[in-house]
Symmetry: C2
């Protein structure tokens, strides 16, 4: 059984501020919890329903494992349909920004708000060997439960740097800066043979004017459609752009 | 105010069975509701909070518009944080399967379960001019609230055919069949100059054996990573594949 205080702490971790103050975060759901348990990464506490613990009895006697009722799980979960098990983890240590300089391809995100998009983009970066993502401070937090759900294990393998994007771009003088938006040259005709930063803009506002001023090339994914669709989802656009960057 | 019966009906439409029986579905959230209202498409009923109706007073006096309390909205919504307004709509009429024959590029989905992925794929199809998607019967329903949330207006512009995928593929004799999975030739080296069907498999099981037997070419999106990531999200893989199909 969980104490009221435990429930309060776990619920609190749905908020970015509490995650920042505590340096902790939560991972929910059978599949991703299993992936972390298999990877032997450290975890702080595990909360699971009776049925999950019956399936994995090797965890029952561990000191930092707690049985949780369905009712309590619904209270502390950030999902409408919670999924049997959650892990409490320590946030990873910050990476030195100097490491970004040596990367050939860097991804930069300007104001991404949707956690599902952010998680999918982190996973794409992992797939295409992009080790560093730069994010404006107003972008969604990497430890948001829905980001984690989409990013899966990639969260621990990709380094995310939050801060003033213009300042970060200014430091990376040996990279060419590409922006992907709706008003550039076709991305299929572009060549990317240098060290490059690819900037993707937010779902509703695109790339901010301050950031656009720093861009060397603007590229666009042209639509083949005549139905009037006006934009692609930003995670889909990132998938297509990274695929083209990495195959040329 | 909503009657208990209205609440019951709206809640019921969260289930596929009730949607099928009634031929109705629900669209939730300010942005997509606004898109439908602007498009002048028909709708059956509108449910909105007081604050939404104050912002759009032209709807207040319409006979099929109902004010809904936050409490009732939470009860009928499929989202943990409901968003001020919902529309009740009639499902569109089924398209003749014969129309698929004349399409150059057709997308086929084998057992896609995640509604966010399905919605994103519908939007991608719309962007790349793919007018028809074939889906196995066990794929998530196009009128699932979370599919709609991701597909946005593309749902009304892309035709989705549910049924026995093998049977459907057998009818399309003039198309070459491509499967995208983890064990094929690099998609970057493939050529697609014929009428084609592109098959994407489910998140957890890939493409079924029966369907794979019908495939002419298997293509793979190679990873550039050495971190051990084992798969891409299916919507991301569809984005990359459609982009390559349509640019060659």
């Amino acid at each position: 059984m969980l104490s009221k205080n435990q429930i309060k702490i776990l619920r609190g971790l749905q908020r970015k501020k509490e995650r920042k103050n505590s340096g902790l975060y939560i991972v929910e759901g059978k599949k991703i919890v299993q992936e972390i348990l298999n990877s032997k990464d450290d975890w702080v506490e595990l909360y699971a329903t009776k049925s999950w613990l019956e399936q994995y009895p090797e965890y029952i006697l561990l000191e930092n494992v707690y049985e949780i009722t369905d009712k309590d799980l619904t209270q502390v979960s950030s999902f409408k349909t919670p999924n049997d098990v959650m892990l409490l983890l320590k946030q990873k240590a910050k990476t030195d920004f100097l490491d970004v300089h040596s990367s050939d391809l860097v991804l930069a995100l300007d104001g991404i708000k949707d956690p599902g998009n952010m998680g999918t983009i982190i996973r794409l970066a992992d797939w295409f060997g992009v080790g560093h993502i730069l994010c404006t401070s107003d972008s969604v937090d990497q430890y948001n439960p829905k980001v984690i759900q989409s990013a899966m294990g990639s969260l621990s393998r990709v380094n995310i740097h939050y801060g003033d994007l213009v300042q970060m771009l200014m430091q990376l003088k040996s990279h060419k800066i590409y922006a992907c938006d709706l008003n550039g040259d076709s991305i299929y005709d572009a060549s990317f043979n240098e060290k490059a930063i690819l900037i993707m803009g937010s779902e509703s506002h695109g790339i901010s004017i301050e950031v656009l001023k720093m861009v060397d090339f603007t590229v666009t994914i042209p639509s083949v459609s005549n139905t009037g669709i006006d934009s692609l989802n930003v995670a889909s656009a990132t998938a297509i752009s990274l695929s083209l960057f990495c195959s040329k």
